[in-house]
Subunit: 413 residues, 2 copies
Amino acid sequence: MALIVQKFGGTSVGTIERIRNVAARAVADYNAGNQVVVVVSAMSGETNKLVALIEGVAAFYNKREYDVVVAAGEQVSIGLLAAAIESMGYKARSYLGWQVRFITDSAFSKARIKEVEAFRIRKDLEDGYIVVVAGFQGIDELGNLTTLGRGGSDTSAVAVAAALKADRCDIYTDVDGVYTTDPRIVSKARKLDHISYDEMLEMASLGAKVLQIRSVELAKKYRVPLRVLSSLEEGTGTLLTEENHMMENILVSGITYDRNEAKVTIQGVPDKPGIAAAVFGALADANINVDMIIQNVSASSGETDLTFTVPRGDHKMAIKVLEPVVAQIGARSLLGNVEIAKVSAVGVGMRSHAGVAQRMFRALSQEGINIQMISTSEIKVSVVIDEKYMELAVRALHDAFELEKGAEGRIAS
Amino acid sequence: MALIVQKFGGTSVGTIERIRNVAARAVADYNAGNQVVVVVSAMSGETNKLVALIEGVAAFYNKREYDVVVAAGEQVSIGLLAAAIESMGYKARSYLGWQVRFITDSAFSKARIKEVEAFRIRKDLEDGYIVVVAGFQGIDELGNLTTLGRGGSDTSAVAVAAALKADRCDIYTDVDGVYTTDPRIVSKARKLDHISYDEMLEMASLGAKVLQIRSVELAKKYRVPLRVLSSLEEGTGTLLTEENHMMENILVSGITYDRNEAKVTIQGVPDKPGIAAAVFGALADANINVDMIIQNVSASSGETDLTFTVPRGDHKMAIKVLEPVVAQIGARSLLGNVEIAKVSAVGVGMRSHAGVAQRMFRALSQEGINIQMISTSEIKVSVVIDEKYMELAVRALHDAFELEKGAEGRIAS
């Protein structure tokens, strides 16, 4: 007998019919001899509707009241799901965030979970109940309602799984798992059976939208085996775990891309202290996040070129903010380019294997793709290229690392 | 400085615009130097929508889950109202039933309030907050959400007023007060400035739909001064209090009517023990409530006629249930009549004055209206008449007791 936490998003509970399907899935795991906890989001569209109401009623509102309003969405879906399970002849009981209880800090609208008191759930599971828990919400130490921010239900599910020391946390979504890359770009993209937490964190922050990053961080911290699978079709999905031996033989697990960045280059920067502080201080003051930064020092001229990326939506603002700075520091010119894309290869295997970057650059050069910027971490290599080559680059890298083959295939090759 | 509890129903918070109006009304009382607590229902239509959802998801559902689902309605309206008040530049804070806390029994969907822990509200009021409280909901001693049944927000408001020892509890509704009778029938009907709790209880149970009966009972028990007034127009409404000297000079405060009853007559009943038990036992088994009962004993024949009223919707069922009983007890015949109406005169002054019934019967006879049944209590006289004379009877009684005149006018006359 295993203890399984299942999580279903808003689309999965968006209609009465779909709520019945979720009930059937919970009952199936229960009938297979497991203890089952189901975490659900609000019915799709509800949270947006509630946000529109509070924005309509007050131009500026207290986040405490925002949380009271939006947390109502999950309250409806948990009651409906518990009722649906009971109508199938099983015992079910729903719990709100403050009942279970999910203790959070008081950062309304983006609270972080500090503790989950799971003894009520444990008691119910022992008594044969299927327990239904509201995602996305908690209670602070003063007894105020809080919410965890958009996508917070994934984090709720992992937190309750950690508190219960669950054998698995299954995140049901509209895709059937994590892929080696976007199947819309590479038709040969392959679903991964396993991926490590660290790889998933890199994939998530680089553009894959499958799981909320915080939920992966939490799963890693408490070693919760996390599975991503489809609520629409049968399948085993992708299991997130710590690294294992099998994984170590794989250099690269996936190729990700991101076309939401833009590039800024300041040419002819005098090579003296304080320049970087002036540039990035101005951007920070304007609340603009900077991702990759590259500085090329030219030994002969004593000048450098400074290049970095910012979110594409902030590009115009960045140029505007930097124009006076460029004049002030005596740089030669300020250039912007929004037609770029970032393509990355992610894999824990890189830690112990050299040559990944090399293989990546060779593959891109064979396609005639010029690399504009490079950045690396322990488990990823990212390059910035001309946006128009993005799909071509993703396909070339997917081929170069033989991602269409499973682990055994690649080890043999 | 007074402590005022205001209660607004679903229609009053049905749109963003109306929520802003409610906020303005709370702020007006606050700016007049009062401490203000506002109790609100769900936005109109919301509770029905939530009930439809749970009925759609499960043919038979647990009332615990029903309460979880329907209590979400007030959660939205309190957050919106608090945000609206804050956007006007005042401090506001919303509380759910479990936060304040309204401790109830565990009779899901029709729970009764046992206690209100008001210390959090009191603290906030002292700190200058306008406090917004969810009506209709509470928490049982096991920590489950509960709801109080339809119209329960009136009861929530009175309960919180009692716990805070409020100076007044203002129930805002779509009428501007309690009238001497229905103004749609008697154009001269007059709004009462005062009415006693007992009179209001009789009026409420006899057909006036202004306040939930339980809220009046609770107000009476804790001596909460309760005011009914319009949320749409300015006015002082009707104040419910204990009896006072002024009231004692008034025989009758109001005329009520009810056309939702039907009459059943069993003729030629042998006058022997056990007959009543057989008749009313059969009705009780069929879950049919009996209101007025009259038994006329005929000394000469040793037979009696038994007449009583039942809800009109149960009339057919009552006849069906009684047919075998009538045969069994050897009665002569079973007659039914749905075309009846009950008209009542209500007033605490009756307690110390004879002659009310007489004045009532005379007024009806002057209009040629035949009285079919009579029943009396300490503060009311009810008669059953042919339904077609109902409006005429209400007008005749309103005239006979000079209800169009205020208290002073009648004492002088």
